[in-house]
Amino acid sequence: MWEYSEKVQEHFFNPRNAGALGDANATGEVGSISCGDALRLMLKVDPETERILDASFQTFGCGSAIASSSALTEMIKGMTLDEALKVSNQDIADYLDGLPPEKMHCSVMGREALEAAIANYRGEVWADDHEEGALICKCFAIDAVMIEDTVRANNLSTVQDVINYTKAGGGCAACHEGIEEILTKVLAERGESFKVTPPPSPVAASGKMSTLERVKRIQQVIEDVRPALQRDRGDIELVDIDGKTIYVSMKGACSGCQMEALTLQGVQQKMMEALGEFVKLVPVRATTPAPGLCNPK
């Protein structure tokens, strides 16, 4: 059984704004009947102010799809179209006190229906660029299509690369078999064969490394993980090194994110592999307040 929040259950059992909207002047229809989720969003927009006067939905889908649709209509009523376009799928999930990773696509569908309805109102053609694959990484809700596309676009060849670029596989590690399968397939297309990652740059067992080399390696690890974090509107900076303790600052969306501890753990692991010694990563609180949670896609 899914772990649905009270709010998801409440919106499923008592959906708001369900049914056809007679005088709708904007309609968005998205979803995929093969996947079992499809949504029609109907809006009544004031032509003068572009304010959403009323909204309703019809949904073919599971409990969280119905709850996400219901939440969306409640959230956008009274907003102008431009304001509504700022509502992200994470906002929908947050409104419902979160969704299970397997169900995040329900909030994505809500966001897409909104885009489609507004495009419909403005006489634009809305094209979907979202193709969904089987869920591979359950910790960060990352699907096969996303991993495959990223592997292709960036010429990735190891599981570690995939973790760095997509975060997939960076949590419990149970999905590494699935990631290896994707790598094997894409590498075969490039005429290469998948090899298990060779251990990172061999560090002299004696541990004799100059201070300069050590600092360089620490900086390199930080630089390597930054792109992945920046993609989620976050960032990490090296603050100070004190023996075995490395101080970093988590920035942007990473700061205060539910996943912060997990991210730090991953970076610390990489740090230890690069240095060949035990080190501890300690976050230094950012002075700017956290703008929100990490978007696990």
Binding site: G19, G31, I33, D37, T59, F60, G63, A65
Partner: protein, 402 residues
């Protein structure tokens, strides 16, 4: 309100009297049956009795044909991997498109290792084409593995006949019989079935115990090697408490076999007729004339199964669905897809699976509960109008990506 459990194809409750029988094996009779002292000896005798109780239920010729395992999945894997091991020159497997993941996922993995797997197709009612099967039976095939009863629809496959055909062609035959054992009578000694899988928790025994029936003389290689348990065919200290419980559950299943096929069947039929009489655009999936007595799978068109289950659950009714959402996958049940059930119906399939513990009063409560739930969800559906499906549903609602 008392909860109503109609998900017995998923798992079953252990009968209190079975729990009673197994309890002493945790505290007093805890010895290792392999030990020489008296702590072990009595356990050994209890296991022997359990083996005979299983033997009686499935009509095996010898009690030594019963190998206790940890679950149905282990039995399935053991059977198929053994057949491949003893016949390294044979690189093909025949199975069906509607098997349980315990078989399907293993077969898909074996394909990656270079084996060729033939998945027999089914028709709209979930039936096999035996001509297609006959053509595939060659000396390249190491094993045929075909489920006896489908877990989702209850549809029965003619495995006895298929085993004879395999035997005549010199091919080993295995059947995943976890859904049928205890529900319909069988007599393995008069069949050509070489191997058969049983799962304890499907017939009111505990989880974590299973059986592989292995016909005497069938060539075999163990999956787990180690000690001499199960005559060296499945190493690992016996799960004595659960084995004893499984034996007791098998004896009870044999006693209730007639009840299952009269009373439980009548309750199932009552449920099915009661729902279909009130709910339009709903139909039974699988082969209604040839199925398990306890199973009923109904497709409710234009709505999605998870919603149905959540609303049923709110009223204390437990069932299951073939929708994508309930399984965490992207596609609806592979069984429904294999039968060509359209997506708008496949996502709305609900399986009610009964047991001898269900009552007529419970069934009547479910019959009353279902129609308003279906109506409630259809009100939300873009495919549903005022009093029925919209005209030409596929045209009326065509979302952007499909």
């Amino acid at each position: 309100m008392n909860p109503i459990y109609l998900d017995n194809n998923a798992t079953t409750r252990v009968d209190p009297s079975v729990v009673e029988v197994m309890l002493p094996f945790f505290t007093e009779q805890f010895g290792n049956p392999s030990s020489m002292h008296s702590f072990g000896n009595k356990v050994g005798l209890a296991l022997k009795k359990a083996r005979q109780q299983v033997q009686a239920l499935i009509g095996a010729e010898h009690d030594s044909e019963i190998i206790f395992t940890s679950c149905g999945t282990e039995s399935d894997s053991t059977a198929i991997l053994s057949a491949l091991k003893v016949q390294p020159e044979r690189k093909e497997i025949i199975t069906t498109a509607v098997e349980h993941p315990a078989i399907l996922t293993l077969c898909q993995t074996l394909e990656k290792d270079g084996y060729t797997v033939h998945y027999l197709k089914v028709d709209g009612k979930g039936r096999l084409d035996l001509d297609e099967y006959a053509k595939l039976l060659t000396d390249k095939v190491a094993i045929v593995s075909v489920m006896w009863a489908n877990n989702e629809t209850g549809t029965l496959f003619p495995v006895e006949k298929m085993a004879e055909m395999a035997n005549a062609a010199g091919v080993m035959f295995h059947t995943d019989a976890v859904q049928i054992v205890g529900k319909l009578p069988m007599d393995l000694k008069s069949s050509k079935i070489d191997m058969l899988s049983i799962s304890g928790h499907k017939l009111h025994a505990p989880k974590g115990i299973g059986v592989l029936y292995l016909r005497r003389g069938a060539r075999f290689r163990p999956l787990l090697r180690g000690g001499h348990q199960e005559r060296g065919r499945r190493a690992g200290t016996e799960n004595s408490a659960s084995i004893v419980a499984l034996g007791a559950a098998c004896e009870q299943a044999l006693e209730h076999m007639a009840y299952e096929n009269t009373e439980v069947r009548a309750l199932r039929d009552r449920l099915e007729k009661g729902i279909l009489a009130q709910v339009p655009n709903a139909f039974v999936t699988g082969d209604p004339d040839n199925r398990l007595p306890n199973t009923c799978n109904i497709a409710f068109e234009y709505i999605e199964g998870e919603g149905i289950l959540l609303l049923l659950n709110k009223q204390g009714i437990a069932a299951s669905s073939g929708s994508a959402c309930t399984s965490g996958s992207l596609e609806p049940s592979h069984v429904m897809r294999a039968m060509g059930i359209p997506y708008t119906a496949a996502h709305g399939t609900v399986r009610f699976s009964l047991s001898r513990y269900n009552t007529e009063e419970e069934i009547d409560r479910v019959i009353a509960a279902v129609p308003p739930i279906i109506a409630q969800l259809r009100k939300l559906s873009p495919y549903w109008g005022e009093n029925g499906p919209v005209t030409d549903p596929a045209q009326a609602f065509a979302p952007v990506y499909a």
